[in-house]
Amino acid sequence: MSASASFRRKLWPYAVAVVAVAVSVFPIFWILTIALKTRVDAFAMPPVWFFSPVWENFGKAWSATGFSGAFFNSLIVCALGNILALAAGIPAAYYLNKRHVPGRRTILIWLLISYMLPEFLFIVPMYVLFQSIGLYDTVIGLALIYQVFTLPFTIWLLRAFFADIPEALAEAARLEGAGTWRIVWTIYVPIAAPGIAATVILNSIKMWNELTIALALTFDKAQTVTLAVAGFRGYASIDWGAMSAASIIIILPMALFAILAQRRIVQGLSLGAVK
């Protein structure tokens, strides 16, 4: 093999990676530039590549009606949704790993099916139900309805993490007098912590970005960030600058979360891959 052929061969993967990154990052880059440009520059044709950034769009976005409120709503929904998913998902995952649970397979398959169903299927019946029991337009209601996808996902993922924990650990703890709750909280949860962290991150991203259900089941009090961004579309005009700034603001927490937790996610998702 000639030197240049070997070089080309090595170059290939990099070229693919560069293209992939460029394609996936371009929308964010574009939004960012719009958020940082003046209204005039934002839609100049050809695009203005060099400009001095302006920050006023961010201020405008944050102080726009309902945006900061929606931001905190989303945080609360995420936190609550994760708490609910873990509170039910951890014990469920533990039990569904046991051999002798009757109907185990059926339960697991149903969970998977409900995870795969499109979300809007739930919306109409839930709209009626939520209206009648007072959960419509509440963050608690949203966190609850989000369990439709977070809980199955949590159970399936945690079950895989728990399955990597040798059963002898539970037995050893049992011989020492630990009951099931104690075994789950003092043995399984700490050992599967990277896996739980990965689950929380993936659930958070899903809930943070959710639009369909939030659109149907909230009005103004429990509005989430995705709706708030859509709200920048006025009757007559769209404030593209503020909308882009708002988009950047809502991308930030998840991006930060992902960067900080990247090692955990990788560690979690590869847990047990190497003994």
Binding site: A168, E171, A172, L175, E176, G177, R182
Partner: protein
Amino acid sequence: MSAVSLQGIDISYGSVDVVRNLDLDIKSGEFVVFVGPSGCGKSTTLRLIAGLEEGRSGRVSIGDKVVNDVDPAKRDVAMVFQNYALFPHMSVADNISFGMRLRGEPKEKIRANVADVARMVGLSDHLHKRPGALSGGQRQRVALARAIVRKPAVFLFDEPLSNLDAEFRAAMRSELSRLHRELGSTMIYVTHDQVEAMTMGDRIAVLAPLAQTGHSNLMQFGTPEEVYHRPANLFVAKFIGSPPMNLFDGRADEGGIRFGEIRLPMEGQVPAAITVGVRPEHVLLNTGEGPFMTGTVEGTENLGHEKLWFFATEIGRIVARTPDTGNFRLGEAVNLRFPAERLHLFDAATGGRREART
């Protein structure tokens, strides 16, 4: 310290019987080894004693109490698992003290007990470490310490040395024996390694898979000497001893038995088909008197302190073990003699031991 008694134990997984009709009386303070090939139910039986497995029928007693319905934690047993079952997210000290902390014992007492036990098993310098930072042998010690600190009536060991390398295993064997002498507790030890069984056990329970025996798992329960020198049946004869006992077919012949050119008188009813066994170290090569058969040297293995010789004979292959002094050439014809008092006779049909009178 407590006796352990199993009566009429049956255990099955679903529709598959694993243990059937097992009776076993283990004396207080005894070191008993359950040995057998995989699938013989040895671990299952141990787990039944611990309470981690439920039997279909039968009675388990520890001390003078029937424990069938007693929670594992209240049976006063401690178990050492094959894969150590250490809690990877806790320090060595926390692993050892897990049970004491759970029971809410005073901090001072926990610290003192942990320090004592750590000293006993040589872990004093490692108490703050996580199991992941320890060698296999050290992890095994942590598992051991966690068992010892409970001061249980009965210790249960489930193949605890099988993950260690040979060098460590020998050291841990003698350490466990020392521990048994010091603590005087009843210990039940499961292994498939007959060397462990022979070297450690006060008594050995040889178990066989039901698929091989059909009726019951327990093939013999006796001291290492009994099991080795007076195997109760063909299964034990084949399983205990390395290299295994030479076994060959014999037949009834005028009030005795005959195999090859050798005839042996036998009293009582002689079964039509009999299996004759002799341990490799009891085969005499070109020495002794009386009837012999000729074997041709097929091969040899030099183990340093001894040699194994493989002979082709008219009744099949025979292995002999000699001190490293003997020397034969490949293909050389050697006179093989089998001292009558060293022969083991088994009914070929039932596999049961027969006593020969000569």
